[in-house]
């Protein structure tokens, strides 16, 4: 009996595990929810929408690289010795498909698309009965469509034919998409924005400031039409923004648009929300170097002031070509005229029109400090002032800027509206009025006439260059006007410390980045000359 028991017990013990195997191996994550069941409330779907916005601050985007990419490739900025590595390649136009920042930009735009698709996919899977929920879902889907359009507009403009992934399911079904025709991508941008516009509010409550509004979607659609050369449609969209229900107006102070006071502004149509970093902020000052959403903590500041700042990392100059553009024949008498916007755009000499003092409001207040223009600098010593805040502090001590990034502002819209008239041959009082409206804000002398269409375009181009200098629009303008090669090679040829003419025909598009082509056979086999 005893020995029988001795046998039975071990057998029982051995058998026991067999009986409970299923439950023991069936584990549920304790740190993340299931994708399939989580997004079934307004709040969860709002989180998915916020996650889509958050990509605006990712690598390659507006917390850091976006400035570098488009300021350097448009030659509004040039490198100092401090700029090294990949950024320096952008600066001297020797970049290729391995260019880190371009790869990051591509990655982040597609991440924005995936996250927008997640919002739409989950919204479709949820059928709320509550009216408020239904309204929320409509708005979130519209926001997702806006961001998706924003991503595709930039992708197709910079790279031409790009993979077009229209839904979450399609990215699961085919991890190796082909490049889509450019026309298809533009059509998708138009379609997404057209779908978004009616479901976006004209304005949000204060707490939601920063979300895409109906005006933002209309402005983006107008921009898409303008970029496609659909002048009449562009004109129609932009005109909407000058009328009720919209109440956009130019800010009284130009400087306010690029200072820590630019948080709420009647001129802003869509902006990047940057919270200033302080020493008791929850996030990491350096989150912009890849720590977004991970080791960087919760942080949304921009490092632009630190990177460009002459008393900080001092990575860029403003090119003398850009500086010189601010001095042009006066619209009144043809004499040499220095545009007032020079003062708000860069530090330099009095003769250049740039600001010569900083630290006007520093605490503790010193006397204003003279900007130390180095006359022996072989590169010309002009440095950026736009988006810097040296009037408040002599140096930043880290990347902490809370100045919001202007993605689309009303002055830009007015100039694009003027352009859509001029491109259709109308150089009359309407476009003239729009241009002078923008100039009047900074007390620049007005034009009395735009003259011929060619002359009007010359005026408009300069107006855009000066008004939007350092706002990452010039690259897009030069490319779409078809003058990037001639303009940049001429500027670089005359620039002290440069003298090269690197812009080749292929540079009108960025190279398809390695992060795509190395891992996507269908794209890899569809690239010519190792470029695009």
């Amino acid at each position: 009996m005893q020995s029988k028991l001795l046998y039975i017990l071990p057998v029982c013990l051995l058998a026991c595990l067999g009986s409970c195997k299923k439950s023991l191996l069936d584990l549920q994550s304790q740190s993340a929810y299931s994708y399939d069941t989580y997004f079934n409330s307004s709040s969860a779907l709002n989180q998915a929408t916020i996650a889509t916005y958050s990509t605006l601050l990712h690598d390659g985007m507006w917390s850091r690289e976006w400035y570098f990419i488009f300021d350097l490739t448009s030659y509004e900025a040039k490198k100092t010795t401090n700029m090294q590595g990949d950024l320096a390649q952008l600066a001297v136009y020797t970049f290729g498909s391995d260019e880190t920042e371009l790869g990051e930009c591509w990655q982040s735009l597609y991440r924005m698309i995936l996250r927008a698709n997640v919002v739409i996919d989950r919204a479709n899977a949820w059928n709320p009965t509550d009216a408020a929920d239904q309204a929320n879902v409509k708005q979130y889907v519209a926001e997702a469509n806006f961001l998706k359009a924003y991503a595709y507009l930039n992708l197709t403009f910079c790279w031409g034919r790009v993979p077009l992934i229209t839904s979450y399911d399609s990215s699961l079904a085919n991890p190796y998409p082909h490049r889509a025709p450019v026309a298809d991508v533009w059509a998708f941008v138009e379609q997404s924005l057209t779908a978004a516009i009616p479901n976006l509010p004209v304005a949000y409550g204060s707490a939601d400031l920063g979300r895409a509004t109906q005006g933002a979607a209309i402005a983006l659609l107008g921009k898409a039409y303008l970029y496609e050369g659909k002048w009449a449609q562009a004109q129609a969209e932009f005109t909407l923004l000058t009328q009720a229900p919209f109440s956009y107006s130019l800010a009284t102070s130009y400087a306010d648009l690029f200072s820590p006071t630019n948080q709420v502004n009647t001129e802003t149509i869509f902006q990047i929300m940057n919270q200033a970093w302080t020493q008791s902020s929850p996030g990491n000052e350096y989150y912009v170097f890849g720590g977004q959403e991970t080791w960087g903590g919760t942080a949304t500041q921009s490092d632009r002031a630190q990177e460009y700042g002459f008393n900080d990392w001092n990575n860029t100059y403003i090119t003398t070509a850009a500086v010189k553009a601010f001095t042009y024949p006066s619209p009144v008498d043809g004499s040499s005229y220095t545009d007032p916007r020079a003062f708000y755009t860069f530090y330099g000499t009095a003769a250049s029109g740039g600001d010569t003092m900083y630290c006007r409001e520093c605490v503790p207040p010193p006397d204003s400090i003279l900007y130390p223009f180095n006359t022996t600098d072989p590169q010309g010593d002009y440095k950026w002032k736009k988006y810097e805040y040296y009037d408040l502090t002599p140096s930043y001590g880290g990347p902490a800027s809370g100045i919001n990034g202007q993605v689309i502002r009303y002055a830009d819209v007015l100039l694009m509206l003027a352009e859509s008239y001029i491109q259709q041959g109308n150089t009359g009082s309407i476009p003239l009025g729009l241009i002078n409206q923008v100039r009047a804000r900074v007390q620049a002398v007005p034009y009395s006439t735009l003259g011929s269409q060619t002359n009007a375009m010359t005026i408009l181009m300069r107006e855009r260059q000066l008004e939007l200098c350092g706002e990452q629009t010039r690259y897009f303008d030069l490319i779409r006007w078809g003058i990037a090669q001639q303009t940049q090679n001429a500027e670089r040829g005359a620039e002290p410390g440069d003298g090269t003419q690197p812009f080749q025909a292929k540079h009108v598009l960025f190279p398809i980045p390695n992060v795509e082509k190395n891992y996507n056979p269908n794209v890899a086999s569809d690239i010519s000359n190792d470029w695009n």
């Binding site: 017990l9 023991l24 929810y33 958050s54 010795t81 590595g85 698309i113 995936l114 959403e293 022996t376």
Partner: protein
């Protein structure tokens, strides 16, 4: 569910204990005592009655009692002793055992059981702690260095208490190279292995081939390391105490530029960059050397270790208690590592029952910040250490004022003082019951419970380039725990010439639980109180709670059959289910087959090989798996930042943080087991008189369906900022083939001189066979200093091979470049062709390997790899009278390293100091120089692209350990201390005394980028062998004393 199992286990123990008190009576009894060479009882010896095939194990008093009759032939065996045959003469027996001179009768621990070494069918190494010179090792893995053929010990770096990686027979996985660790028969892990005190280890067995490892199935693809700890032995309390003290130091320093040379370098740099140096460079102050920064961070570190062990026991209970304390300073400022190990073990014998309990504890305390070596290499030599005008008081440099932004190396370690405290506890209990006729049942339970605490206080400071940092105080906790339950039946029985050994069991590995929470506080008023409790704002910067590991359920069995002591066959099988696989592929089956033929037991063989005492031929094949990767890769999960809550965007006029949630991974519901099939053939020869023993093995290890993190195109978008999306796939196949040879010789000359020499060498060839049928690009990794990837993993070359261009020489002048370009035009027929784009005088000219006239990406090749072709070790143990000498040499050959520190020492792409090698740089047209000009973009399109300029041979041979000891003679001992001591031995030792290498960096013993990476995907696979300035292995001199009471 597990609670019920635990309860059942308890019930069993209680019930079984009750039964043991009864037992059954015998009619005729053989009784006796087994004694060792010095007359002490031997417990645990096996007494086997050949006549009636009954066996018994001696008690703690060395006694046995078993049925039998006069004239029965008894065989007495014990690990490390010669077998004894004795005939029962009806009297109580006194058996004296003599220590074995050959190890064939040694009992070797294998998976779920033991076997005699002579009966092994597989490639197995046993390293006993005594042979390994355990007295000076501070880390268990050090015991294995140079000891086992084909086993490489890669020490993470020279940081005190640093981890080490054991690599058995090459690299056979893309996700983990971790062998399975088994401590006293229970599955454990590397953490526990490293937590053991070296003094507590009896021996370590390494199972290398799949015939023996298959019984561990899923966990065994990288081999099995079985650790046997010391257990209590019967007798009066025995106390031993060891104390050793020593000093450790880096064995090499680099030669850096002095201030005038440094300024000249910066001037060259500025000239190339079309700029001028800041104003201070026109003053003489920069030409004066102020500080030797290497001297400021390197130091002579004090190390000490004290160990105390008490053991003893009575008839039914044996105990052992040991306490060890190691205090070790780092060889650079300013870290101290203190480790306290405690181990307690109890063994109870109660009739047919045997119970054991042990508890191992370790507490590790690490204080202080480690210096950054590359800062000491690069910081301006004209700078003093201190500068009172800077916040925190340490000097800084800046691009604006100094043309450099390297951080002050002293400031690095002075401004903060992290304290890490880790506590780990490892309880083990088992109960074993002898059922009947050789059948035993064993049930065992173990758990690992660990916790850590982290504090840090950072003074407010201004770093180079005027970056300011606030006062911060950190506080963090983490803990984890899991347990393992195993039950198995084992059966050992001999019938005439047939003997069987069978095992059948199951096990359950709980997924356990782990959690972490860390916060920091800011807004600290002053430095008087240096912790988070006075901070005015707090942020949680680490947060996690989840299962600690996959849960695994296993069923396994093994049968070993021996015929006539000649033919041995072994079959094993295992079925494993693991929670980290998709529902469809949760279970995997593994098997192993092995056979051995002891041909010297054949009559014909004895005639042909009269010089052989023993000869054995072994062949085996088996499959094993790998599930060493995280749970939940098979299901899509939400992502809210890491830690959760870090995914935010700002809204509102004050830019409030609004939380977001999305998806950031691509799930693969079809994940399966990695499968490794290994063939092994071996020949073991023992020559007459057992002086010479050789062991040779050939293996072929093919790993299939290796899990690969396949990069998906960026357009997929399911990833984190700055990353590409990836998907886990069972895609790749890889192979390791090799030969291992071990030769040992031991002998005695005269009365006083004994010697034991052994050498081993392993040759391994690693090769990636395939990356799968799906579109898989070569896996690239190993970036440093923002340069491009340096390693490639692709079919046809070893895993993690270095890949890049080949440098020809530095371009002398423009004429040379013009000539190359002209040739390129001619060869390509393209009038605008250039030989190498961007090439200027003073740049590296790379070789046009493809021969198409220009340097393109096609001119790259495999430049070597960090998996050594040869691993070898030489061991010498001599005793002469009371003196003993132990020398361990170890080395690797056929290995390539990437010396990424050259970015700081031999290249000037940013402003920093360099080594004197950079004096041989190109400076002006016509210079024939070894190194390119100062001033160049630090990216991968120019001179700094991956090339053989970065790679160096990593071959080295090291005198790892040299110990000379002297044991006081008995008479001196008695005269000196009466009878209080049984033993006094004094010794001196040196670790890493000599290193023979051509490597130009601090130390050729390079592990992997970032030292040891303990995340789920260890970079031992794809970024191994890149020297990024980790702490070198120190040279240590020690003196110590061992006392026995």
């Amino acid at each position: 569910m597990m609670r019920t199992i635990s309860i059942k286990l308890l019930l069993l123990l209680v019930v079984a204990t009750l039964f043991s008190l009864t037992g059954y009576a015998q009619s005729a009894l053989i009784t006796g005592t087994v004694l060792n060479e010095s007359g002490h009882p031997l417990s645990g010896a096996t007494v086997y009655n050949k006549s009636n095939r009954k066996a018994n194990i001696t008690t703690i008093q060395g006694t046995f009692s078993m049925p039998g009759k006069k004239g029965d032939l008894l065989l007495v065996t014990y690990v490390g002793y010669e077998d004894q045959q004795i005939t029962f003469n009806g009297q109580e027996l006194n058996v004296s055992m003599a220590p074995s001179r050959n190890s064939l009768n040694d009992i070797v621990v294998i998976g779920y059981g033991t076997t005699r070494k002579r009966d092994l069918v597989s490639a197995t190494d046993v390293v006993s702690a005594k042979d390994a010179g355990n007295t000076v090792a501070t880390n268990p893995s050090e015991l294995l260095i140079g000891k086992a053929a084909g086993v490489q010990i890669v020490q993470a770096n020279g940081t005190p208490g640093a981890d080490a990686q054991i690599l058995i027979r090459g690299t056979g996985s893309f996700t983990s190279v971790e062998p399975l660790y088994v401590i006293d028969g229970i599955q454990a892990d590397k953490n526990l292995f490293n937590a053991l005190s070296v003094q507590d280890i009896e021996n370590i067995t390494i199972l290398k081939d799949a015939a023996s490892t298959a019984i561990y199935g899923t966990a065994a693809a990288n081999g099995v390391v079985i650790i046997t700890t010391k257990r209590g032995k019967t007798g009066p309390p025995r106390i031993s105490f060891t104390s050793q003290w020593g000093m450790a130091k880096a064995w090499k320093q680099l030669h850096l530029l002095n201030a005038p040379q440094y300024v000249q370098l910066l001037q060259d740099f500025a000239a190339t960059s079309n700029t001028v140096l800041p104003a201070k460079f026109s003053t003489p102050s920069v030409l004066v050397d102020s500080t030797d920064w290497q001297k400021e961070i390197f130091r002579t570190a004090v190390v000490s270790e004290n160990d105390l062990n008490i053991s003893g026991g009575s008839e039914k209970v044996a105990y052992t208690v040991s306490v060890g304390y190691i205090n070790q300073e780092s060889i650079v400022q300013a870290q101290t590592n203190k480790r306290l190990n405690v181990r307690m073990g109890l063994d109870e014998t109660l009739g047919r029952f045997h119970f054991g309990q042990s508890l191992a504890l370790r507490n590790t305390n690490t204080v202080g910040q480690l210096s950054t070596i590359t800062d000491a290499l690069g910081y301006a030599p004209y700078k003093p250490i201190y500068d009172p005008s800077v916040l925190s008081g340490y000097s800084i440099v800046s691009n604006v004022a100094d043309f450099s932004n390297v951080d002050n190396p002293v400031q690095d370690y002075k401004i903060q003082s992290p304290v890490t405290n880790e506590f780990v506890m490892f309880p083990q209990v088992f109960a074993e019951v002898g059922l009947i006729n050789g059948l035993k049942f064993r049930s065992q339970f173990s758990a690992e419970i660990g916790q850590g605490k982290y504090t840090d206080y950072q003074y407010p400071y201004e770093a180079s380039n005027y970056l300011t940092y606030p006062t911060k105080a950190y506080l963090g906790y983490n803990d984890y725990s899991f347990y393992t339950i195993e039950n198995y039946l084992s059966y050992n029985r001999a019938f005439g010439k047939h003997s069987f050994s069978a095992t059948l069991g199951n096990s359950y590995l709980s997924p356990g639980n782990s959690s972490v929470l860390q916060a920091y506080g800011t807004g600290i008023a002053n430095n008087n109180i240096q912790n988070i409790s006075v901070s005015q704002a707090q942020v949680v910067n680490e947060l996690g709670y989840n299962y600690d590991r996959p849960s695994v359920i296993s069923y396994y069995g093994r049968l070993i059959y021996t015929y006539n002591d000649r033919y041995i066959l072994s079959f094993s099988g295992r079925r494993d289910g693991s929670s980290n696989f998709g529902v469809n592929d949760q279970f995997g089956n593994f098997y192993g087959v092995g056979g051995a033929w002891r041909f010297t037991n054949e009559n014909f063989a004895r005639k042909i090989f009269p010089f052989l005492a023993d000869g054995k031929l072994r062949v085996g094949y088996g499959t094993t798996g790998n599930n060493n990767f995280p749970n939940f890769l098979t299901v899509p999960l939400t992502f809210s930042g890491s830690p959760s809550g870090n995914l935010v965007y700002s809204l509102g006029p004050n830019e409030a943080f609004i939380p977001g949630t999305t998806i950031a991974t691509v799930a693969n519901p079809n994940l399966r087991w990695e499968q490794t099939g290994q063939f092994d053939a071996g020949l073991e020869l023992t020559f007459i008189k057992n002086h010479l023993h050789t062991d040779i093995d050939y293996y072929d290890r093919k790993s299939k369906g290796l899990l690969v993190s396949i990069p998906l195109p960026a357009s997929n978008g399911a990833d984190l900022s700055g990353n590409n999306p990836t998907e886990e796939e069972n895609a790749a196949d890889a192979e390791n083939k090799g030969v291992e040879l071990t030769v040992s010789y031991n002998n005695r000359s005269g009365k006083n001189f004994t010697y034991n020499l052994s050498g081993n060498i392993g040759y391994n060839k690693n090769n990636v066979i395939s990356l799968g049928s799906q579109f898989v690009a070569p896996i690239t990794a190993g970036t440093f200093d923002n340069l491009s990837t340096f390693t490639i993993t692709q079919p046809g070359s070893p895993i993690g091979s270095f890949y890049g261009y080949v440098v020809d020489h530095v371009a002398k002048d423009q004429a040379e470049i013009d000539a190359l370009n002209a040739a390129a035009v001619k060869k390509t027929g393209n009038p605008s062709a250039v030989y190498q784009s961007g090439l200027l005088p003073g740049d590296f000219i790379f070789k046009d390997l493809a021969g198409d006239g220009t340097v393109t990406t096609a001119d790259q090749k495999v430049l070597g790899n960090p998996i050594p072709k040869f691993i070898y070790g030489l061991n010498t143990q001599l005793t002469y009278g009371n003196f003993d000498l132990n020398i361990v040499l170890s080395g690797i050959a056929g290995v390539t390293l990437v010396n990424s520190v050259k970015f700081f020492t031999e290249i000037e792409a940013t402003g920093h100091n360099a080594s004197t090698a950079i004096l041989d740089r190109w400076r002006q047209s016509g210079d024939v120089a070894a190194l390119p000009r100062a001033g160049q973009n630090d990216n991968s399109s120019g001179n700094l692209r991956p090339s053989n300029w970065w790679t160096e041979s990593g071959n080295y041979m090291r005198v790892r350990n040299l110990t000379i000891g002297y044991t006081l003679p008995k008479q001196v001992l008695n005269a000196f201390a009466g009878n209080s001591f049984t033993r006094i031995r004094i010794y001196i030792a040196a670790q890493n005394l000599l290193t023979f290498t051509h490597y130009s960096g601090y130390d050729p013993e390079v592990s992997t980028q970032g030292g040891l990476n303990t995340t789920q995907y260890p970079n031992y696979i794809f970024t191994r062998g890149i020297d990024d300035g980790e702490l070198p292995q120190p040279r240590t001199f020690l003196a110590g004393v061992q006392l026995g009471f």
